[in-house]
Symmetry: C2
Subunit: 410 residues, 2 copies
């Protein structure tokens, strides 16, 4: 199926610097896609530290299980990503295939197989055909020249309609530090996990333990705060690689004041990539921010925000540019979290639509209709109970989502 | 919007007997719909017992709050249902309007207002215009002749594409007993509540307490085991009225062996109505039964079954007649319930598609494709952990759902 570039896509792929200690190659295996790169190979420098978060699915793919083990043994050799077949629910063969893929990559990178992270997304349940990869790595001709970040981002795409990249620079202790990240994802996107695939690289000099806690912490309000369709992938993985090549002193404590700028830059980059995934939500025509306040606590606020952002009735109304705020009331009500109906306040952008359990006095359907035509909408809901706040980003539900998913495999 | 009759609709509305002690009228208020009844008025005999279950939404409508109070004071006068405006999130005016509606009905029925249950479904957040109802009840001309069950079922519809009714007869202690029920519902349908609107009448002679416990018990595996779009309504109500006119001795204990036939007949009727609601799922082209076994317990089985039945990716695949069982694996994985990936077994109807964490050996995509063309599909999943089983009924997600919901209010 030919997929049109999402109307919510950014204008262009950003200009992204090289990261010292990271080498990138891409290749066309031809396994599923033709005339586009579908394999990404990355080599990390010997000093690199790696942090990772993975799907919370109880039916994870073989690559996720392998990469989780890599992380546990502090593997830092490199990374092989393939697109088109997720190698999920493929039994013992799937597990053996991952070891073989790691073997191919390890020989190419001159590292040990157990040192190479493996990631894959695509169809679930289809046994992997190793043939094309075997052929590719027998020649290794794709390694003659390095790939660009844009090519790397392209190589990991499946139903994505555009490539996703982001970059930030910051200072640590006077030294300039760069962060570059790429991501893929468009459907089977739901929070409460380490969403889709994203690979982030920095030359910062940060200890492994600190890197891991930073990543887990910042995921909560970036990748884990987005939803396209409430469906959690079996392959989701975010890896953060610090090559430790920057000229500042090593940082190993979360409270180190030198870390503040980096943490902020990293969160900005992760949020940027997370938003790019939502903007490529299958069939999406609206980018929606749902901000819930006044909940019992942060967790309750997130549950309510997700109940709104995942409601098919809310999502179809937004697609139809219908300010049907009654469905927001419904979604708050079904969340199961405490809410004071008679203190409930709802804004669409700057427009107050409901307050104190009633339609707002100055409610103006015409003004609201004009606002609803924006491609980016903000819904703010205060449930009047406590101090809990959370923001979730999602998209609308259109005919495009059904077109894409009613025959994804064909 | 003109809605085509669902392709999954039953051939015709059943022939349903009168229930002694129940009188029915319908009327056209013209408040929202034209040329169709939109008001249902029912009078119960003085001896009637009433049981009820209501939405678990924390933002329930004013009619739900009123009817809940009616139930608490053993009200048994009658019932007024209006279609088109749910009178939800309408503040103090909404609550006052319910009292007025009860007043209209009470005068017409020669009962006290606090004795009349009020139900409504339709748009949320729109203040009710009492004018048309006031006019209607001033004349009361619609009460000159009784309505049929089919007219009653018609009067409570909103986006329904057909009227829903079911009847059963059984014996209690040698006496013949009838049960008649009607229901409405098509969208904003999700379980774990007392779903949509349904009114069930029987001439059986059963105590109020027993009636309530029967209704709550049987809802769990009928109305509370269906889903159209995972969105829980703010108006859902099921009322069960026993007029106690049948010629058997009163029954007041759940263990009474005379109750067995009635309980079975009532469950059959409730399941029938629940299935009719799913078959009228907005835009539905497939009726799906999801049976989960091997879960830790019944609750876990239900969570997994709902995760499958509510997954947009599963639902769109079914709409596309694509046996994409990988998405079933995904939905099991995201449910959060314990499942043994390597013992997972998945059937589509009679076809084993996956076993032991792998595609089934005899997997035949062509045979499966033929099966997927059926309008009624069965998905059976065993997760290999324990004795828990549950069945959920749902439907697919098609362009029709988006057409209906992108501009419901216009």
């Amino acid at each position: 199926m030919y997929l049109k570039r999402s109307p919510l896509a950014p204008d262009q792929f950003p200009v992204m610097p090289d990261i010292a200690g990271v080498q990138i190659w891409t290749a066309e295996s031809g396994a599923k896609y033709k005339n586009r790169p579908d394999v990404l190979l990355v080599k990390f420098g010997q000093d690199a530290n790696v942090a990772g978060v993975f799907t919370k699915s109880t039916t994870p793919g073989a690559p996720v299980e392998w990469s989780r083990e890599c992380l546990a043994r502090y593997a830092n050799g490199g990374l092989l990503v393939s697109a088109g077949n997720a190698n999920v629910f493929t039994g013992r063969k799937g597990a053996r295939d991952v070891v073989k893929m790691a073997g191919f990559a390890a020989r190419a990178l001159n590292r040990m197989p157990e040192d190479v992270y493996i990631c894959a997304t695509g169809v679930i349940g289809e046994p992997l055909d190793l043939g094309p990869f075997e052929k590719l790595f027998a020649r290794n001709s794709f390694m003659r020249s390095h790939a660009s970040w844009a090519q790397a981002a392209q190589a990991i795409c499946t139903t994505d309609t555009y490539t996703k990249g982001a970059t930030q620079t910051c200072q640590i202790d006077g030294a300039s530090v760069s962060i570059c990240g790429i991501a893929k994802g468009s459907g089977m996107i739901a929070p409460d996990m380490a969403t889709m695939l994203s690979f982030i690289f920095t030359d910062a000099n940060i200890s492994r333990t600190l890197l891991q806690s930073l990543l887990a912490d910042l995921c909560a309000t970036s990748f884990n705060a987005i939803t396209v369709d409430s469906d959690t992938s079996t392959s989701d993985t975010v890896l953060l690689v610090a090559t430790n090549k920057a000229s500042h002193e090593p940082i190993d404590h979360i409270a180190d004041p030198q870390l503040a700028g980096f943490k902020q830059a990293l969160h900005k980059l992760m949020l940027d990539l997370a938003h790019q995934v939502v903007r490529d939500g299958e069939g999406a025509s609206k980018f929606i921010a749902v901000h819930v306040s006044g909940a019992q606590n942060e967790k309750a606020a997130k549950t309510i925000a997700l109940s709104i952002a995942n409601s098919p009735l809310v999502k179809t109304a937004l697609a139809g540019e219908d300010a049907n705020w009654g469905r927001i009331v419904m979604a708050v009500g079904k969340s199961g979290e405490k809410a004071e109906r008679d203190k409930l306040t709802i804004h669409f952008g700057p427009h107050l639509v409901a307050s104190h359990g009633f339609r707002a006095p100055g409610y103006d359907e015409d003004k609201l209709s004009v606002y609803m035509q924006n491609p980016e909408l903000e819904i703010r809901v205060d449930v009047g109970v406590g101090p809990g706040e959370f923001t979730v980003w999602g998209c609308d539900l259109t005919h495009g989502y059904i077109d894409i998913n009613a025959d994804y495999r064909s």
